[in-house]
């Protein structure tokens, strides 16, 4: 693994870790962070979030990462931890090492 790839992957992992924790807190999920798979569906089957949880998650990550996620992107983007990370990256969020 070269340094640019290592930097990219470690940055992504930091985002995944922070979003997992924000999700667990916002939706009061009875899981440890590593029990939340990055591609597990948030709604319906999967983690079973409802619309209130969704709103709380958006508020939580916007606060955590100091960004505003465009409302037009929330509905389609709030599918998994990974898609939430994608939303944050697109919104210019950053996370320190």
């Amino acid at each position: 693994m070269d340094e640019p790839l290592r930097t990219q992957l470690e940055r992504r992992q930091r985002f995944v870790d922070r979003v997992r924790r924000a999700l667990i807190d916002a939706a009061r999920l009875p899981f440890e962070p590593d029990e939340v798979d990055p591609d597990a569906p948030l709604f319906g089957t999967g983690l079973g979030l409802d619309s209130v949880d969704a709103l709380e998650l958006v508020v939580a990550v916007e606060r955590e990462f100091t960004v505003q996620i465009p409302e037009s992107r929330v509905h389609a983007g709030l599918r998994t931890v990974n898609t939430v990370v994608d939303l944050l990256l697109a919104a210019g969020a950053e996370v320190r090492a």
């Binding site: 990219q8 029990e35 798979d37 990055p38 990974n82 990370v85 994608d86």
Partner: protein, 386 residues
């Protein structure tokens, strides 16, 4: 027992059939791409002769099921839950729903067979358990209805109450004799109908007539298209990624099993794997060229994984795949990997966050929309892939 050939031709003669768990299943009726589009754009009907269903009834039914299912049985009457059945090494051998109705418990799914599941239930039942175990597949067949307007087909057949069905609920249809589950593995509206075999042909005819009344195309769709749809939407396919020696931890299916429950087949292996930590994880990726199961995934000259399942997504216009990838590399958004195919090609791939599509069902509101009036629906751009 009914002749399996009858089920194979229930929706018309398939152009190709394949064996799943030893049972002939319609793979396609025409081009797979057309069938995938039918699932994604209108309504599609599939017959799944390989699916099985068992009943678990009696005073100790819950305890018997609890000894086998790796998930807590917090299920109310009329509800179902998705889970797995695991081997002792924690690899899944069946993709199942567990449900509770007024008679008792039901387990239905794909992979393995009803006889294997019944044998497991008997073997793991607590001593002296008062329970009746029965194969509920022999006189029934599973029909799967999928698509952004699948609800319209069922509503026309069953009445408007269908519109109020929540996901993972079920009811017994007096009109058709079918047990109807709101469930599916395509990412669109979906309904599983366990219909009596003796009247399945009549049910199909009535559903087709109902769709014709409202101008809704109802396409026969084989397992080939359902498999592509599952891949596009990151639904577990027990016949693809389930065929490898991976546990729910590597498969990203932890939500289907309990991290705290003990005693089910595979529980010890799961605990041991959690304690050790996983070294690889399934990751979604896509490419502009053909990918195949078994193709090697590389970063430079370093092999970092292999393709588990792959298919062409006509809606995304790309090949989508699921690969098992060494954990440090198993992340979305990487465009520096390549697949080295068995035919000697090197194909640039990009990892992505599934699903690969914006499902049209997310934009359809059954209380307002219809297939004929679909021009009024504001669909998002289909592909989510960069």
């Amino acid at each position: 027992m009914s002749d399996p050939v009858d089920l194979l031709s229930l929706l018309g003669e398939p152009a190709e059939s394949r064996a799943l768990a030893g049972v002939p299943v319609p793979w396609r009726y025409g081009p797979v791409d057309d069938e995938v589009r039918a699932v994604r754009e209108s309504a599609a009907l599939s017959v799944l002769p390989h699916a099985w269903r068992v009943r678990v009834e009696g005073p100790d039914a819950r305890d018997v099921l609890d000894a086998v299912v790796p998930r807590e049985l917090y299920v109310r009457e009329g509800q179902s839950r998705a889970t797995l059945l695991l081997n002792d090494d924690a690899t899944p051998f069946a993709d199942v729903y567990v449900a509770l109705d007024e008679r008792g418990w039901l387990l239905y799914g794909e992979g393995a067979s009803s006889s294997r599941v019944l044998e497991l239930l008997r073997a793991r039942a607590p001593a002296g358990a008062e329970v009746t175990l029965a194969d509920a597949s022999t006189d029934a067949v599973l029909l799967a209805l999928s698509g952004p307007f699948a609800w319209e087909a069922l509503t026309e057949l069953e009445g408007p109450d269908v519109l109020g069905m929540s996901y993972l609920t079920h009811y017994e249809s007096r009109g058709t004799g079918a047990q109807v589950f709101r469930a599916g593995k395509t990412g669109e509206y979906g309904f599983d109908l366990w219909a009596p075999r003796s009247s399945a042909g009549e049910l199909v005819a009535r559903m087709r007539a109902a769709c014709a009344r409202v101008g809704l195309p109802l396409a026969p769709v084989g397992y080939g298209a359902l498999s592509v749809c599952a891949l596009e939407n990151h639904f577990f396919d027990v016949f693809c990624e389930g065929a490898r020696a991976l546990t729910p931890l590597e498969l990203q299916l932890q939500w289907r099993v309990s991290s705290r429950k003990e005693g089910y087949p595979g529980a010890e292996a799961m605990r041991a794997r959690r304690a050790r930590g996983i070294t690889e994880r399934v990751t979604s990726l896509h490419a502009g060229e053909e990918l195949s199961p078994g193709d090697a995934l590389h970063f430079g000259d370093e092999r970092i994984g292999s393709v588990l399942s792959a298919g062409f997504s006509p809606c995304a216009g790309k090949w989508v795949a699921l690969a098992v990838v060494a954990l440090p590399y198993a992340h979305s958004g990487v465009d520096r990997y390549e697949v080295r195919t068995a035919r000697g090609a090197r194909v640039a791939v990009r990892t992505h966050s599934p699903p690969a599509l914006n499902n049209r069902s997310l934009a359809v509101r059954p209380s307002e929309h219809s297939y004929e009036g679909r021009g009024d629906v504001r669909f998002a751009e289909t592909s989510r892939l960069p």
